[in-house]
């Protein structure tokens, strides 16, 4: 480590994510586990945690939620982004028929898991939930990776009209032997109960307001755990 905490990469390409935001594809790679996160800094604006959507090239999917993410969404090819990490404990690969359940921008937290599972011969199914069709993120990426993708939207504008969990219940195909989920906490709680009721192993990626990202400040605590250092990936039993 040097006295410069961040490394710098440039935006190589952009993929629009409908009304939700943008995926930034950077000009470098990062060695990391699926489910780990990085801290992204725009000098003079903010520094926040982001899921690693892809490791090579390093890619981040940004949902438009406030001034900082708005600034990130305005980045153009050639613009620079400052990064530190990866941090936290990610997902380990289990089973042969994983079901990935993502809500909204949580889709960015599971793509790397799908990328690592596919070469093992795993049949990866993905359920993407969003409020409306134009807020769906990263469907293209899961399809590119050869996953079976099911969609649920609150208003029925794409896929099943209902929740991500409704879409899980409607899935055909192989019996899933492990669940992974990333998204809003009410959805994660529902997934945790779904897994418990079916006696399936399940891991979830939690989100909290995070400042340091390195297990010092304590701002991301969830009970006695720190999301940044103990997680962000936890066995779903922590939500029961």
């Amino acid at each position: 480590m040097s006295s410069q905490p961040h490394t710098v990469m440039r935006v190589a390409d952009l993929v629009p994510e409908g009304a939700a935001g943008v995926t930034l594809i950077l000009d470098g790679a990062l060695d990391c586990q699926p489910g780990q996160f990085i801290m992204a800094w725009l000098p003079g604006i903010e520094e926040r945690p982001f899921s690693v959507m892809d490791d090579a090239p390093l890619s981040l999917s940004v949902a438009h939620v406030g001034p900082f993410t708005h600034a990130l969404c305005l980045l153009q090819p050639g613009d620079r982004l400052w990064l530190r990490g990866p941090y936290g404990h990610g997902f380990a690969l289990h089973g042969a028929h994983p079901l990935l359940i993502a809500g909204g921008s949580g889709a960015a937290g599971l793509t790397l898991l799908a990328k690592r599972a596919r070469p093992r011969g795993d049949q990866v199914s993905v359920v993407l939930g969003a409020r409306t069709a134009d807020l769906l993120m990263l469907r293209w990426r899961y399809e590119e990776l050869g996953c079976v993708v099911a969609i649920a939207t609150d208003d029925g504008s794409c896929g099943l009209c209902g929740t991500a969990l409704d879409a899980c219940n409607a899935l055909d195909g192989p019996q899933h032997d492990v669940l992974y989920a990333c998204g809003p906490e009410p959805m994660l709680r529902a997934v945790a109960r779904y897994a418990r009721d079916r006696a399936l192993p399940c891991w979830v990626s939690l989100e909290r307001v995070m400042k340091c990202g390195i297990g010092v400040c304590g701002s991301c605590h969830c009970g006695e755990r720190l999301v940044c250092a103990d997680g962000p990936v936890f066995a779903s039993s922590v939500l029961l």
Partner: protein
């Protein structure tokens, strides 16, 4: 047979390691977990009378010398913190691990009012944080740089709090011993030495600006350690007050060094970065091993022995 228990101001600590303020201790659950993982006392995050949001991010950064931080004393305010401390205290008491509350104020009155409220939670100690270097732009120089100001704050707290009172000193004081004498005269029962060094600054050359949103921040970790050891050594040589030696301790050897400089207990903070809460158990194992190797039964036997 090595015995890791120590006594700080007459209060028994099951291990000599103290969770330093500002690390982890923002809620009852994390304080209790630190105690279960080997901390012999736990210090809550500093609280002020009114809630504070703190500085925008980046607030804490790792660098080659340790950490630099300008969290900016974010806290829920003394009334809310009092409830957190009450919850923590009940659970910590069952573990036999004392609770140290930490209080910050930007005026003597602010300290006084916050101490009065926090005292209602009946912590085992109250630590006065008069030495945070990260809020100078708002409140001016820390009280810990000036013996008179430090003495005034301590006396005000002493007037409303009959329990064990610690004062956290700054390594930036031109004469730390003079500050310590002033707080001792004003009624402090013990010292925590030291808070972060600086403030310092990191500049990102590609961004062409300071990295911390607050521009400057306190230095902790390995870069602070030798400064902290020297401060503890000077204080222990000049005064007869128990000291929690804090600053860059990340091994059993660092902890024993603090004790040999004159510390009664040893603070651990930045070492949690990267390694996590398991750091307490590792340091304790290393310390026990080193004590066995060196034929030390009790830390009290070697406290201050480096004063040659």
């Amino acid at each position: 047979m090595t015995d890791l228990c120590v006594e700080l101001c007459g209060v028994k600590l099951p291990t000599p390691l103290v969770l330093a303020s500002g690390i982890w201790g923002c809620c009852a659950e994390t304080l209790v977990r630190a105690a279960r993982e080997g901390a012999g006392a736990v210090t809550a995050k500093s609280c002020s009378l009114e809630p504070r949001v703190g500085h925008p991010n980046p607030t804490v950064l790792p660098w080659s010398g340790g950490l630099i931080n300008a969290v900016g004393l974010s806290n829920p305010g003394a009334p809310a913190e009092r409830d957190v401390l009450r919850t923590a205290r009940g659970e910590l008491a069952q573990l036999g691990v004392p609770l140290i509350a930490s209080v910050y104020g930007h005026s003597v009155e602010g300290f006084w009012e916050a101490v009065r409220l926090i005292a209602q939670a009946e912590p085992d100690f109250i630590e006065l944080n008069i030495s945070c270097p990260n809020v100078e732009s708002e409140f001016g120089k820390p009280f810990a740089l000036d013996p008179d100001a430090a003495g005034r704050v301590t006396a005000a707290a002493r007037a409303v709090y009959a329990g064990k009172l610690l004062v956290k000193l700054s390594p930036n004081a031109p004469e730390i011993v003079a500050v310590a004498r002033a707080v001792a005269a004003a009624g402090a029962d013990g010292l925590t030495a030291v808070n972060t060094l600086g403030p310092g600054m990191l500049i990102d050359v590609r961004a062409r600006r300071p990295v911390l949103a607050n521009r400057v921040g306190g230095i902790s970790g390995p870069a602070l350690h030798p400064v902290a050891v020297r401060c503890v050594y000077e204080l222990a040589g000049a005064l007869d007050l128990p000291i929690i030696g804090t600053g860059g301790v990340r091994s059993g050897e660092d902890a024993l060094r603090m004790v040999m400089a004159g510390a009664t207990a040893v603070g651990v903070g930045s070492a949690l970065c990267g390694e996590g809460i398991g750091v307490f158990r590792r340091i304790l194992n290393e310390l026990e091993g080193l004590m066995t190797e060196e034929g030390i039964d009790h830390l009290a036997d070697v406290r201050g022995c480096a004063h040659v």
